[in-house]
Symmetry: C2
């Protein structure tokens, strides 16, 4: 008998019919002898409806009252799901974030969880009840309603699992797990049975939008086993655990997946005097304009000057280019150039740490296909390259094939 925290997102509870289906699914787990705490989001469309109402009143609505408004969305779902469970003869009890109580800081619209008082939930579980908790919401120390920001329901699930020392936190979504790469690009892409928190973070931030990054960080920090599953299909999903978990029992693949990002743009400033603080002088004005910078590389030029390249979201390309041209004038740089028709391809895997030559194998695979690499960046468990956007599918397929990801014999 295990204690499982499950989280169902907005699409999974998007209609009365789907809520009924979720109730059936929950009861299946219950009947296997598990204790269940279920976190739910607002029914899909509801948060948008409420946001729209707020905008009609005040286009800049935010803060305390926006949280009071938006939290009604999940409150509706917890009530309906509890009714559906009760109708099936299973005692159930709903809790708002404030009722649990999920204590947060007072940063309305983007609060962080400080602590969870899980006593009520434990008592309900002892009484055999299924507990249904509103995701995305909490209260601050003064009893004001707060929200964790959009998508925060994943974080609620993980935080509850940590507080209750649950055996597993299961995130039900519209995909059936984490894949070696996007199946729409590579038909042979394979669902991973297991992946580490670190790999998941690299995969998520690189564009495989399965889980909220914050929830994965939280799960890693508190070592909560996290499982991504489909709301609509049967299956084991993908289990996300810490690096060390059962290391011996699984033959670790060198590379877990190929991530990619279409929305990149590259900017380069050439011939910058190579003096201390020059990186800040270049990137300071960009971040002052609230433009997020992704990859950054700096090469030393031949003449004691330096070349500096970075990538931004494609939507920010024009604005970043204008800022960089101003900076170039100030610094007396030789030239500014840019390219908004590029993409980023990354190989991710903790096995990289113990295997030499992974990066060069990646470059070899790409070279064999005649794909020119414009920029390279590496981390402990990831190698990213920037290439012309026309090579995206070709590059991903070549890497997926070259690293034998379609072959599941190692699992």
């Amino acid at each position: 008998m295990a204690l499982i925290v499950q989280k169902y997102g907005g699409t999974s509870v998007g209609s009365v019919e789907r809520i009924e289906a979720v109730a059936d699914k929950i009861i299946g787990y219950k009947q296997q002898g598990n204790d269940l705490v279920v976190v739910v989001s607002a029914m899909s469309g509801e948060t948008n409806r409420l946001t729209e109402l707020a905008k009609q009143i005040d286009p800049r609505a935010r803060g305390r009252e926006l949280d009071v408004l938006l939290t009604t969305g999940e409150q509706v779902t917890i009530a309906l799901l509890s009714m559906a469970l009760q109708k099936r003869g299973f005692p159930a009890r709903s809790y708002t974030g404030g009722q649990v109580r999920i204590l947060t800081d007072d940063a309305h619209n983007k609060a962080r969880i400080l602590s969870i008082d899980a006593d009520n939930i434990r008592r309900d579980l002892e009484l055999g009840r299924i507990v249904v908790v509103a995701g995305f919401q909490g209260v601050d120390a003064d009893g004001n309603i707060t929200t964790l920001g959009r998508g925060g329901s994943d974080t609620t699930g993980v935080a509850l699992a940590a507080a209750l020392k649950a055996d597993e936190c299961q995130i039900f979504t519209d995909v059936d797990g984490v894949y070696t790469t996007d199946p729409r690009v590579v038909a042979e892409a394979r669902r991973l049975e297991r992946i580490t928190f670190e790999e998941m973070l690299e995969m998520a931030s690189l564009g495989s939008k399965v889980l909220q990054i914050r929830a994965v960080e939280f799960a890693g920090k508190y070592n909560v086993p996290l499982r991504v599953l489909s709301s609509f299909e049967e299956g084991e999903g993908t289990l996300i655990t810490s690096d060390d978990n059962e290391e011996d029992s699984v033959e670790q693949a060198v590379i877990s997946g190929i991530a990619f990002n279409r929305d990149e743009a590259q900017l380069t400033i050439n011939g910058v005097p190579d003096t201390p603080g020059v990186a800040y002088e270049i990137l300071g004005p960009v971040s002052d304009a609230n433009i997020e910078v992704d990859m950054i590389v700096q090469n030393i030029g031949a003449d004691g000057s330096t070349d500096f390249t970075f990538t931004v979201h494609r939507n920010d390309y024009e604005a970043a280019l204008e800022i960089l041209q101003n900076t170039a004038e100030k610094l007396g740089a030789r030239e500014v150039s840019g390219n908004n028709r590029i993409v980023k391809l990354s190989i991710v895997g903790v096995g990289m740490r113990s295997h030499a030559g992974i990066a060069s194998r990646m470059f070899e695979i790409l070279a064999r296909e005649g794909i020119n690499i414009l920029m390279i960046s590496t981390s402990e468990i990831k190698v990213s390259v920037v290439v012309d956007e026309k090579y995206l599918e070709l590059g991903v397929r070549a890497l997926h094939d070259g690293f034998d990801l379609a072959d599941d014999s190692e699992e």
Copy 2:
């Protein structure tokens, strides 16, 4: 400078435009130097939408989870109204029933208020804030969300006014006050400037559905001056106060209003043995069938037997008649008869207490119009008669005219 509690119902806040209009109205009162606590209902249609969702899950949905669901309706309104006030530059703060905290018993769906902790509200008022409170809801001692039952927002307003010792509780509705009778029947019907709690109770229960009866009782008990006003028009409305309030300053009218009820049906059992307990033997089976009995009269017959007549809602007529026929057989009564084409007319007024002959003047007025009286019932401040339904308009107009209600010279 006064402390005013205002309550706006579902129609008054039925759209974003109406919420904006309510915000303007509130600010008008605020700018006159008043402190304001505003109670709001769910936007019209919202409670029905939520109830419908619950019914799709479980047609018999009720109890704890239904309250969790329905209370989201008012929570949406308090957030939107607070945003509208803030947008206009007026600091405002919303509270759910649980946040206030409005402590109730644990009778879900029909809870009663036990106490109100108004400390937060007082602090907000001292800081110059307008306080916006969700009507209809509270929490029990264990923190479970409760509702006061439909229409309970009036009660929330009155209870808050009592707890805060407010100078007045203003109920904004879609009529501009309490009238001497229904203006759709008597064009000359006049808005009353003032009426007592007792009169209002008689008027309300007799069919002038302006205020929730429970709220009027509550206001009377705690002596909270209650004012009914229009959300949509300017005006002083009708002030409902205790009998003794400023008695000398107002020349009390003998009759305040003419109430009537179209939905009555009359049942008579003749020739019942006049023995102790016979009333219970007749009415017991009726109330066991959950049929509410309104007027009851009993006459002593000539032969030591008795005639017994009562009225029920017209919808319950057939069921009550069947029950009565069974009872008549059991009791050996002579005859059962009924009439579901009757109506009830009532004159209401505290002035009756000190003026003799009001009832006979009523009978005289009706007789002059050739209206036959089928049944009479009297109380301290009310005389009701049952007449054939075809006389309803004629009777109401004759009484309104005969008691000089159109003439407002006495106020």
